[in-house]
């Protein structure tokens, strides 16, 4: 018996060692797999490797581009002398119409129509200022001829010198002589027409960024994930566009077809089918899934199970506006204050305007955590005709989606909030006339809201009761650029915790966030009850034993 004991002790210990070893081995295997690349990365790298764009034309040699040009439309005419179909194609795209192509044009849905935002609200009556970002010439007012092929601005998207600048208030035209824009203090020079015309090529990110990085009239005003920091980003800011990495141009993902550029258009998602290039090699490369597939992570990684409900962006863009600040709040109601009878501006700690007599109060932020909503790729936006409920925050635009919709994902958004004018009687948002000369009702010349709304609504052909007030509004931007390196993806606990990032998304159970309170309380009562029970029992034994010894 005595001899048997040590062996008996030894065996369970050895068995335990075996279990520990087995466990270590299986974890070690996971480690080894780590060295292999995630399939989604391998696929994407294959899809983008060895891509060299080659062309067969040298525009600097074209005789027609040696001509002397006086204006943009003359250059356009020269372009069209070879590219006969280009203007016709382009004029069918949203870049030209600024209207939702999937809605009857009479309904005027689109920023060229009556669709509202909570920045400068609407372009009606403010065209010359807004249309400096129109790829055309002369959209000065509602009488602009959208069928004139020579009004198309080919250069803004195709010239590659970087010297072609449309003047901010000239309805899309450049200047004839060097002119200072008072709004930013910069001098705008007339273009060297031959140089810019001969430089044309495929659009680069500077072409797109000239407008899209400065939407809303300034760097990072509108989008939280697009600003001038994406002109030459590093990998840290954007793994795809980083000049020290893949160095993608915008059109690498925003693929084109007859001048239509892939991407969301109002309530039309960028893509309705989530297909990868493996399933359809001609699919637009606009979704993450296009190149990375639906299960991009290593086999067995839980994140692969999340892709049916959580957008890639939700984890891989933990914060937006990581380099330049973006505007988060715009309160028009405080506009009009003057110092010594003069309009003035105040800058904030980030060097961005905090107050401007013309525009009111601003709040800017850097490294912003997105807000999350179910999103199927469509965004609905109010027009100036839609009734609102001013008793609470009015969503001027909102993501469409539902947790039960298989096409919806939890998606990160920048939500821009602010206060803007509404008609107290008609319960609609109001279009202000902002830009214009004194005597026209333009707010930036007269600082009279009543006259501004009168003028703006009349121009748009809409009723205005004359009574207005301010209402808090929100406007959403999907966050999809500024994808961070994989090491910077969100840890699970950012959402899987009691007050995590998805605390506001209700209606479904999420581990780590949700718990049945009754079960939790009863459970602890049971556990503590057991503890108390054995404690009392043990105490009894202890006392009884003591008594016996006496």
């Amino acid at each position: 018996m005595k001899n048997g004991m040590p062996i008996a002790i030894g065996l369970p210990a050895r068995a335990l060692c075996l279990v520990v070893c087995l466990a270590t081995i299986s974890f070690a295997q996971v480690e080894v797999l780590d060295e292999n690349q995630a399939p989604g990365r391998a696929l994407a790298q294959q899809a983008t490797k060895g891509r060299e764009i080659w062309i067969t034309a040298d525009h600097s040699k074209h005789p027609v581009l040696q001509n002397e040009f006086q204006s943009g439309p003359e250059v356009t005419a020269a372009c069209l002398s070879c590219h006969e179909l280009a203007a016709g194609q382009f004029q069918k795209t949203i870049h030209w119409t600024w209207l939702d192509p999937n809605v009857e044009p009479e309904l005027k849905v689109g920023k060229g129509g009556l669709t509202m935002n909570n920045f400068c609200v609407n372009i009606q009556s403010n065209e010359p200022r807004c249309t400096s970002c129109h790829a055309g010439y002369g959209w000065r007012d509602k009488h602009f001829d959208f069928s004139n092929p020579h009004a198309v601005d080919c250069l803004i998207c195709h010239e590659q010198t970087g010297t072609y600048k449309k003047f901010p208030t000239a309805a899309g035209f450049t200047v004839d002589k060097p002119t200072v824009f008072k709004g930013n203090g910069k001098t705008y020079n007339p273009p060297d027409w031959n140089a810019v015309a001969q430089s044309v090529g495929r659009p680069t990110r500077r072409n797109c960024g000239t407008c899209h990085f400065f939407g809303g009239g300034g760097d990072g005003v509108k989008h939280g994930d697009m600003d001038s920091s994406l002109m030459k980003p590093n990998k840290e800011l954007d793994v795809h566009m980083g000049i020290d990495g893949q160095n993608f141009d915008c059109v690498r993902c925003h693929t084109t077809s007859v001048h239509h550029i892939a991407g969301r258009i109002y309530s039309t998602p960028a893509a309705t089918e989530r297909k990868s290039l493996i399933e359809d090699d001609l699919t637009p490369k606009i979704l993450c899934e296009s190149c990375h597939s639906r299960t991009p992570h290593k086999p067995g990684v839980k994140a692969n199970d999340h892709t049916d409900k959580v957008a890639c962006q939700s984890c891989h863009i933990a914060h937006f506006a990581r380099v330049n600040p973006t505007k988060m709040w715009w309160d028009w109601s405080s506009a009009g204050k003057k110092k010594d009878g003069k309009p003035y501006k105040v800058k904030d700690d980030l060097g961005k305007p905090a107050y401007d007599t013309k525009k009111g109060d601003f709040r800017w932020a850097r490294n912003v955590q997105p807000e999350y909503f179910w999103f199927n790729g469509a965004i609905n936006t109010l027009t100036a005709l839609d009734p609102i409920d001013p008793s609470k925050e009015v969503a001027v635009s909102w993501p469409v989606g539902d947790m039960n919709d298989p096409n919806s994902r939890i998606f990160p958004f920048k939500v821009h909030r602010g206060k803007q004018g509404y008609d107290k009687v008609n319960k609609t948002l109001l279009i202000p006339h902002l830009f214009g000369k004194k005597g026209t009702g333009a707010y930036w010349a007269e600082y009279d809201w009543k006259r501004s709304f009168d003028s703006g609504m009349e121009y748009a052909g809409l009723p205005f009761s004359g009574e207005f007030d301010w209402v808090e509004t929100s406007y959403v931007f999907p966050t999809t650029h500024m994808v961070a390196p994989k090491e910077k993806a969100l840890p699970c606990s950012e959402c899987h915790s009691r007050n995590g990032r998805l605390a506001n998304l209700t209606g479904f159970y999420m581990p780590g966030r949700d718990v049945n309170t009754v079960v939790r309380i009863l459970g602890w009562i049971a556990v503590l009850g057991s503890l108390a029970g054995v404690f009392i029992h043990g105490l009894g034994r202890f006392i009884a034993a003591g008594r016996k010894e006496k």
Binding site: K302, S497, V519, W524, V534, G540
Partner: protein, 222 residues
């Protein structure tokens, strides 16, 4: 204890002890990581906790299959057959006799390891609570395949809540179990037995027939 001679008997086989301690490790890890993924505290971090939990859960599920195999091939399942005989005596012992130093009314023997109370508790554990935890845990783990398996009528919330309730039951069991192992002849007698397999029992205690896992009635050879 006084006046009675104690003898060592070999009570727990190698596999039983291995199974017991493997289960101990798995249950403790599952409890810790489970409560962590439930958001009660932070130790491993959610990701690691969830991964450890899944690993232990699946390991347990596989190991449990071997346990069931062992139960039935060895006939040990009979040790878990519930009975009311001597149940009152056992309850009386733990409520009263134990304080007076009385002997346990149902002493352990190779063929009768469990007293009636243990039989009931271990049977409910092995046949009810643990299977419920395994089924709900497996469902939780395979959540993404529910639609494929035609199980999308299930509610993850309900599955998770049952799993959590089960976890509290296991933790309560653990508390009582940890205490009960101190009620042997000495505080560590039962622990020692579960490590070495050898347990000290009073000499000469008879095992009654109903306690034996097998009834060996001699058959006349024809």
């Amino acid at each position: 204890m006084i006046g009675k001679r104690m003898i060592n008997i070999y009570l727990y086989t190698r596999y039983e002890r291995f199974w017991h301690w493997l289960q101990t490790i798995l249950i403790v890890l599952l409890l810790i990581t489970g409560f962590e993924t439930n958001g009660m505290f932070k130790l491993f971090g959610f990701k690691a906790a969830a991964e450890i939990h899944n690993f232990c859960g699946i390991t347990w599920l596989i190991a449990f299959a071997f346990f069931v195999f062992w139960l039935f091939t060895t006939g040990e399942f009979k040790q878990y057959a519930p009975t009311t005989r001597k149940m009152f005596e056992v309850i009386r012992y733990y409520a009263y006799g134990i304080f007076r130093g009385e002997s346990h009314p149902v002493p352990k023997r190779r063929d009768a390891k469990h007293n009636p109370l243990q039989r009931i508790v271990y049977l409910s554990l092995a046949a009810m609570l643990l299977p419920v935890q395994m089924v709900t845990g497996f469902l939780f783990w395979s959540y993404n395949s529910w639609a494929q398996w035609g199980l999308d009528w299930l509610s993850l919330y309900v599955v998770a809540t049952i799993h959590l309730a089960g976890a509290f039951a296991v933790l309560s069991f653990l508390v009582v179990h940890l205490y009960m192992i101190t009620t042997g002849h000495s505080i560590f007698a039962h622990t020692r037995a579960m490590i070495t397999g050898w347990e000290l029992v009073e000499e000469g205690t008879e095992i009654e027939e109903w306690e034996q896992k097998e009834r060996k009635t001699p058959q006349p050879v024809s």
